[in-house]
């Protein structure tokens, strides 16, 4: 609401009705997006007169084209998801999950993990809140795995760089990992490895009433999400694209086929092992992944690497240590890592 009102000071633009502003913004977005490829050509080869096919030329052209393209897509999708998320609050997700049987619960939890807003600093309150309502441990974990791994930033970047097939496969396999990992954790009956005080937590206050938002307010939330998320990740996006551009221009074709290609079966576990302790957001890692792929790395290997980097993170496990004992944390990381491993092998087998 505030941001909408803040914009009204901007003058005539804000005097227009919401739908008209939306349409104008969409048209402008589309126009810029269409002009990116010719503009990048123009800048790299005409303005900077870099020789076509040179290392520097292809690196620079890659960067000039990819950077604004990814940022534009990011703004669009983060805005859209920001609006969608006003319909899926964590409180609502919890209500939907309460009283579900395990298998159905795992599926639903993983799916809701995609749309429910989540940041790793909320992992603990969310965990406590879910367990308190009696949501089974395994179902809670399905949510905790899906929420960071499958997010709008990752999906946009995958779509922008590899097309909808890869984005779709990532979505489906990521969901699969989250469902199965949660289900396995549930079957292992690890409840005794949850810190005992967790089960003593009792909310005293009444649950806050759900906010009532009208459409301008929802759009305002979308804009807020853009400011917050794009404002936070853009340096990573640019850095990732810069590294990707360097690899694109300078690393010879097929160099990585030997170490990261299909033939090297051990590259998948190596990628997962390397990725688990690494922590980056999707924005930084995907442009690098794209460049690796171009140079002969296998799709399954790089996807496994990516899932391990953004799905499992050291900071999150440290935060979860406050409510979980080490054996459960080890099982959590282990089960998810094995799931990612299977996905990696599967992709390498199919493609």
């Amino acid at each position: 609401m505030e941001s909408v009102r803040g914009a009204e000071k901007a003058g005539t633009w804000a005097g227009l009705p919401l739908w008209l502003r939306g349409m104008l913004a969409a048209a402008g977005w589309w126009l810029i997006y269409r002009l990116l490829a010719p503009a990048a050509e123009l800048v790299a080869y005409r303005l900077l007169s870099l020789p076509r096919g040179s290392h520097l030329g292809s690196s620079v052209a890659f960067f000039i084209f990819e950077a604004p393209k990814v940022l534009l897509l990011l703004v669009l999708v983060v805005f859209g998801v920001g609006i969608v998320r006003t319909f899926f609050t964590p409180e609502r997700t919890r209500r939907m999950l309460a009283g579900r049987r395990e298998s159905v619960g795992n599926v639903l939890a993983a799916a809701l993990g995609i749309v429910t807003p989540f940041c790793s600093c909320s992992a603990v309150p969310l965990f406590l809140g879910f367990v308190e309502t009696g949501i089974p441990l395994g179902v809670t974990f399905s949510f905790l795995v899906a929420a960071p791994m499958i997010n709008e930033v990752a999906l946009v970047l995958l779509y922008a760089m590899f097309g909808w097939q890869v984005a779709g496969l990532y979505l489906v396999t990521g969901l699969g990992v989250a469902m199965v990992a949660g289900w396995v954790i549930g079957r292992l009956h690890m409840e005794r490895h949850v810190e005992p005080w967790v089960y003593e937590v009792q909310g005293e206050a009444e649950e806050a009433e759900p906010e009532k938002l009208d459409w301008p307010a929802r759009v305002g939330r979308g804009a807020e999400a853009v400011r917050e998320i794009v404002g936070r990740v853009w340096p990573y996006v640019l850095a990732g694209i810069a590294v990707g551009a360097g690899i694109h221009g300078y690393v010879p074709e097929g160099l990585l086929a030997g170490i990261m290609g299909k033939g090297a079966w051990w590259s998948v576990p190596a990628a997962v092992l390397l990725g688990v302790p690494m922590y980056s957001n999707a924005a930084g890692i995907i442009p690098v992944v794209k460049a690796l792929l171009e140079k002969g790395a296998a799709l399954g290997t790089v996807l496994a690497f990516m899932m391990a980097v953004i799905g499992l993170s050291l900071p999150e496990t440290i935060i979860l240590r406050r409510v979980l004992r080490l054996p459960l944390i080890a099982v959590f990381v282990g089960v998810v890592a094995i799931g990612i491993l299977i996905v990696g092998f599967l992709f390498n087998l199919i493609f």
């Binding site: 505030e2 964590p90 940041c119 909320s122 009792q202 206050a205 649950e207 806050a208």
Partner: protein, 77 residues
């Protein structure tokens, strides 16, 4: 009047605290601000996401960093 900021110390929580302080300063009324960092205390408010803003024991917002203006409105400027 009492404002409580619930959060375990993430950057967003600090930002919300700063915004609340700014809002209170602008109002010029005596409002007590308390930062709640203990998880058990936070869970008593039944919030699922942090940071959360509590005014006189009532959760007004969770999972968002409210702007100083929004907080001022909630405080009844």
């Amino acid at each position: 009047m009492k404002v409580q900021i619930l959060g375990t110390g993430c950057p967003k929580c600090k930002q919300l605290l700063a915004n609340a302080e700014q809002a209170v300063a602008a109002l010029g009324r005596p409002v007590e601000i308390e930062k709640v960092e203990d998880l058990r205390e936070i869970m008593k408010f039944r919030v699922l996401t942090t940071p959360a803003l509590v005014i006189d024991g009532q959760v007004k917002a969770a999972g968002r960093v409210l702007s100083p203006d929004e907080i001022k409105k909630l405080l009844g400027s």
